[in-house]
Symmetry: C2
Subunit: 224 residues, 2 copies
Amino acid sequence: MKKYAIIVAGGSGTRMGASLPKQFLLLHDKPVLYYTLQTFLQAYDDLELILVLPVEYTDMGQEIIDAWFDKERIRITAGGDSRFQSVKNGLALVEEESVVFVHDGVRCLLSTALIHRCYETAVSSGTAIPVIPSKDSIRLLTEEGNNALDRNLVMQVQTPQTFHSKIILPAFQIDYKDKFTDEATVVEAYGIKLNLVEGEEENIKITRPLDLVLAAEILSARKQ
Amino acid sequence: MKKYAIIVAGGSGTRMGASLPKQFLLLHDKPVLYYTLQTFLQAYDDLELILVLPVEYTDMGQEIIDAWFDKERIRITAGGDSRFQSVKNGLALVEEESVVFVHDGVRCLLSTALIHRCYETAVSSGTAIPVIPSKDSIRLLTEEGNNALDRNLVMQVQTPQTFHSKIILPAFQIDYKDKFTDEATVVEAYGIKLNLVEGEEENIKITRPLDLVLAAEILSARKQ
């Protein structure tokens, strides 16, 4: 089936304390975003990328494409005020029945194996959400105080969150709500059951300067 | 009030793929454990340390103490088969009414400010559990599938978990249960309400080789 990957890099990265949004920071001499795009393009020959960027950085995104990639396979669109709106802008470019990946641009260390795993599950079951078990003890705040959750039941959610287009396109017609922290919550609000797939420990999200150090270390280990 | 800190370093650190348990690995030329002990000793002059180590590593622990610390303030005891038993062995050395900190030996980057915060809350309210808000979207496995938790209500639990001795000593007379992943769950099973205090982003637990790289980076940034 046809595949689209919406790469969400709409944030201006204020948490990094850097002048550039984090998706453009250099990792082993190439922008973070380079690795994300490259891994998706390698995963499937018939996959098209939709790159969602802050409007003031679309030119910089185009430079990355011109330098390293086949421009026929990547389109750029402008992000919105929220992640929900950014993804919605990306979904507007989905033209045919397909499997749609939605991925954080700053999760640049995912593997093609993870992309394949998400695809297979989304094809067979409509949805695929990668998760890893929580490493920490977790407490949930309640009205009366707080209580422990069974750590074995607590899952950290990653991306690419992957859906059949027949599910994600109508799901995103809903009005925005604060609880929509990812695409899974939107699709869940549309009444669809979510299938979890095994995520990856190294599929980290680069949000702090330290994460960039960690990512460089992971890349070095892979090259050895 | 008198203070004891039980530093739990009972694990043999198989996850690191290193020959040495992770608490002995070097971080800027000193063992991980050095930083943990040093921060607690600096926090309060009347604080005594109880260091819980695998029995085959008590000599190595003693070498660290001899090299850097006042041996009058630190005692070593052997760990048990579980964290619960290791903490119980440490608690056996608590001799007077006090505030008892229980801390992961491999969380070597905590601040004295965090120790003070935990102490103040434990003195006034009996318990103090440091937590930080979850950065990830979280799903909880259920019998029917899984569902999203409100991320604002999900807290990652850290240490030092801190208690009045009148609470933690009797609480640990309970029989061990699998759900006891930390001291908070033991004290909760004893029927005590837990007070949460603000933890620290940099209070990381060194469990993977990458965490050691991250810790070194944090230390370098602090030195600058």
